[in-house]
C-alpha cells in the first residue's frame, strides 16, 4: 500500500509548550482521513506543517512522496489547501482569483482563463463569478476555496475545518463538493471538530488531543468502542423510574442506567428505530408520563471522556 501522507514523530513547540508532540499518521492513497479533535488539540498546527507553511521542530513528514522540509517545492505543486489556514483575495472576484492563482500555478494566461471558467462552472459559481468575494456567503466562499485548491488537480488535498462557521446549508454544499473531489481519486486529510462531519466524509478517523493521536480507526470501530447510540427516556415522575427501566431493558435487551436527579433512564441500542418504536409502544401501554424520548448519538465530548477519562478520572482508576 502506498501512503499519500506520512508523519512520524512530528513535533512543534510554541514558547514553552509542545503544540504538537509526537504526531504519527499514515494516510493510504485514495482515502479520506478525518483528523478529529477539540480546539487547541494541534490539528491546524499539523496541517500547517504538512503543507510547508510551518517548519517542524522534530520528526519528519512526507506528502505525495516528498519531504515537507527538504522538498517543499515539490510538495507545494502536489497538494491543495482549503480552510482556515489559507484564504482567497476578498477584493477580487471569484474569476479574478481563479485566473490569478492559475497564473501563479504557471498555467499561462490562456489556460488559466479556461481553467477558471471550468472551475466556476463545476463549483456552481459561474453566475456570481464577477462579484467581489467580500459579498459572498460563507458557503460560496468555501466553494471558491475548494475551486482554487483544485486548479492543479492535486493528488493530495488538505481540508482544515472546511465547514467551520457555516450554516447547515453551507455545510451541505461543502460536503457535496468534497465528496465529488474524493470520487475523482484524490487523497484527503480533513480536520474537524464535528464527529458527524468525519463520519460523513472520512474512511478512517484519527482522534487528536494535546498534540498527538490518541485513537484511530474507522468511524464504525470508534463508535462501537463507545457503545454506539443510546435510547433515553426522561420521565415526568421519578417514582416511575424502576418501571420504565424494566421497559427499556425489554425494548433494547441491554442493561439500562438510571439517573434519578434528571429522572432519566437509558440504554445502548443497535436497531435504534425498531427499539425506539417498541419502547414508545411499551411506555404508552404502561401509561407512564414521559417528558422526552429519543435516540442520542455519542457526542465528541463523550468520545473524549471515553478515551481520556479513564486516565483522568480517579474514581475509575480502581475499575481499570
Amino acid at each position: 500500500m502506498t501512503f499519500a501522507v506520512v508523519a512520524e514523530g512530528l513535533r512543534k513547540r510554541y514558547g514553552g509548550t509542545w503544540a504538537v508532540d509526537g504526531f504519527d499518521l499514515a494516510v493510504p492513497e485514495g482515502t479520506v482521513c478525518g483528523l478529529l479533535g477539540p480546539n487547541g488539540a494541534g490539528k491546524t498546527t499539523v496541517v500547517r506543517m504538512l503543507t510547508t507553511l510551518l517548519r517542524p521542530d522534530g520528526g519528519r513528514a512526507a506528502v505525495a512522496g516528498h519531504d515537507v522540509v527538504r522538498q517543499a517545492a515539490q510538495v507545494r505543486s502536489r497538494m491543495g489547501l482549503v480552510g482556515q489556514s489559507a484564504a482567497v483575495d476578498e477584493v477580487l472576484s471569484a474569476r479574478q482569483n481563479l485566473v490569478m492563482f492559475g497564473r501563479l500555478s504557471h498555467l499561462g494566461l490562456t489556460r488559466a482563463r479556461s481553467r477558471a471558467e471550468e472551475l466556476l462552472e463545476r463549483f456552481d459559481l459561474a453566475e456570481t463569478g464577477g462579484k467581489p468575494v467580500k459579498q459572498f456567503s460563507g458557503g460560496m466562499r468555501r466553494r471558491l476555496d475548494l475551486a482554487v485548491s483544485m486548479i492543479l488537480s492535486p493528488p493530495v488535498l488538505f481540508l482544515d475545518e472546511p465547514t467551520a462557521g457555516l450554516d447547515p446549508r453551507g455545510r451541505n454544499e461543502v460536503w457535496e463538493a468534497v465528496r465529488a473531489l474524493v470520487a475523482t481519486g484524490c487523497t484527503a486529510l480533513l480536520t474537524t471538530q464535528y464527529l458527524e462531519e468525519a463520519d460523513q466524509l472520512a474512511d478512517r478517523i484519527s482522534i487528536m488531543d494535546t498534540g498527538k493521536v490518541i485513537a484511530e480507526g474507522t468511524p464504525g470501530e470508534l463508535k462501537s468502542a463507545l457503545g454506539g447510540d443510546r435510547v433515553e427516556v426522561v420521565l415526568h415522575d421519578a417514582a416511575d423510574l424502576p418501571a420504565a427501566a424494566g421497559l427499556v431493558e425489554r425494548a433494547t435487551g441491554a442493561e439500562p442506567s438510571l439517573d434519578p436527579d434528571t429522572r432519566r433512564v437509558g440504554a445502548p441500542v443497535r436497531e435504534k428505530a425498531a427499539a425506539l418504536a417498541e419502547l414508545a409502544r411499551l411506555l404508552e401501554a404502561a401509561g407512564l408520563a414521559v417528558e422526552d424520548i429519543g435516540v442520542r448519538r455519542p457526542t465528541l465530548d463523550e468520545v473524549f471522556l471515553h478515551l481520556t477519562g479513564d486516565a483522568r478520572d480517579p474514581r475509575k482508576e480502581v475499575a481499570a
Binding site: 517545492a73 505543486s77 475523482t184
Partner: protein, 274 residues
C-alpha cells in the same frame, strides 16, 4: 473535468523566468485591487494636494522663506518628499492585511516563486508613487511652483524622490510583516507625522532653535528635500555641512535604509514558517 498537473522548475533559467512571471502576476493583482477600489486610490492621490493647499495658502503667509522668495516654491519639493513618506502607510497596511487574512499563506502553500509577493508589492507601490508624484507636480504647477534649471536636473530630482520612496517601501514591508495586523496602521500614522514635520519640508531650518535645526537637517527626508530644491532651482537655505552635501546624502540615506530593511524584510518573509 480535465486533469491539470504542475511542473516543477528545473534549472536557474526557468526559475528566473517564473520568478519574473510570478512577480508580475502579483503586480497585476494589486493593480486589479486599485481598479476595484478607485475611491481609495483617489483619496491617496489627493490627500497630499489638500496639504499643499492648506500649507500653501492657510499657513504659508506666516512662513519665512530663504532669500525672501515665494513660500510655495519652497514648499513643493518638501511636499513631494512628504508624499513619498506617506507611502509607508499604504505599503504597511497592504502587507499587514495580506498577512492577517491568510492570503500570504495561500501564496506560500503554492509553487510560487518566494520573491513574488514582495516584488509585486514593490513594483505596484512604485507605480503608485510615480502616479502620485505626477499628480502633485501638476498641483504644484497650478499653484505657481516651477522648475528653473532644465528638464535634466528636474528628472534627477524626481529620481531622488523615487529612490526615497523605494527606501520607505522596504521599511513598510518589514513593519507590515513584523506586525501582521492592519489595525496597527494608526501607530504608523502617529510616527509618520513627526518624522515628516521634524524636517525642512515645511519650515526653513534657520527659523528653528539650533539643536532642533540640526535634528531636522539630519532627518533622512531632509537631504532629499534640499537636493530636490537645488535640482529644481527652488529656494534652499542652509549652509551646514549636511545642507551643502544634500545631493550626496539624498543617495546615501535611502541606500542605507534599503541596506538595513531589505534584508530584514526578506529574512522576515523567509521565517514566516517559524
Amino acid at each position: 473535468m480535465t486533469t491539470v498537473t504542475a511542473e516543477v522548475p528545473y534549472g536557474p533559467i526557468t526559475r528566473l523566468r517564473w520568478a519574473v512571471a510570478d512577480g508580475w502576476t502579483m503586480t497585476l493583482r494589486i493593480l486589479a485591487h486599485w481598479a476595484r477600489q478607485p475611491g481609495q486610490v483617489a483619496v491617496g492621490l489627493l490627500f497630499p494636494v489638500m496639504i499643499v493647499l492648506m500649507f500653501g495658502y492657510l499657513f504659508g503667509g506666516g512662513m519665512a522663506v530663504p532669500g525672501g522668495g515665494d513660500y510655495r516654491e519652497f514648499l513643493m519639493p518638501g511636499m513631494f518628499a512628504i508624499s513619498m513618506l506617506f507611502g509607508i502607510e499604504a505599503t504597511f497596511t497592504a502587507v499587514a492585511a495580506d498577512a492577517a487574512k491568510g492570503v500570504t499563506d495561500r501564496f506560500r502553500s503554492m509553487p510560487v516563486a518566494r520573491s513574488a509577493v514582495v516584488v509585486g508589492r514593490c513594483v505596484a507601490d512604485m507605480l503608485n508613487a510615480a502616479l502620485g508624484l505626477a499628480v502633485l507636480i501638476l498641483c504644484g504647477l497650478a499653484v505657481g511652483w516651477r522648475w528653473h534649471d532644465g528638464w535634466g536636473r528636474a528628472a534627477a530630482a524626481i529620481g531622488l524622490l523615487l529612490l526615497l520612496r523605494l527606501a520607505f517601501l522596504w521599511v513598510g514591508i518589514h513593519l507590515g510583516l513584523v506586525v501582521g495586523s492592519p489595525d496597527a496602521v494608526v501607530a504608523v500614522q502617529i510616527l509618520v507625522w513627526p518624522v515628516g514635520f521634524l524636517s525642512n519640508a515645511f519650515v526653513w531650518t534657520d527659523t528653528m532653535p539650533g539643536w532642533l535645526a540640526a535634528v531636522a537637517e539630519w532627518n533622512p527626508l531632509a537631504a532629499t528635500v534640499t537636493a530636490a530644491r537645488e535640482l529644481f532651482g527652488n529656494p534652499t537655505g542652509g549652509g551646514s555641512w549636511i545642507a551643502e552635501h544634500a545631493t550626496l546624502m539624498a543617495v546615501v540615506w535611502p541606500l542605507a535604509l534599503i541596506a538595513i530593511f531589505f534584508p530584514l524584510a526578506v529574512r522576515r518573509y523567509a521565517r514566516l514558517d517559524r
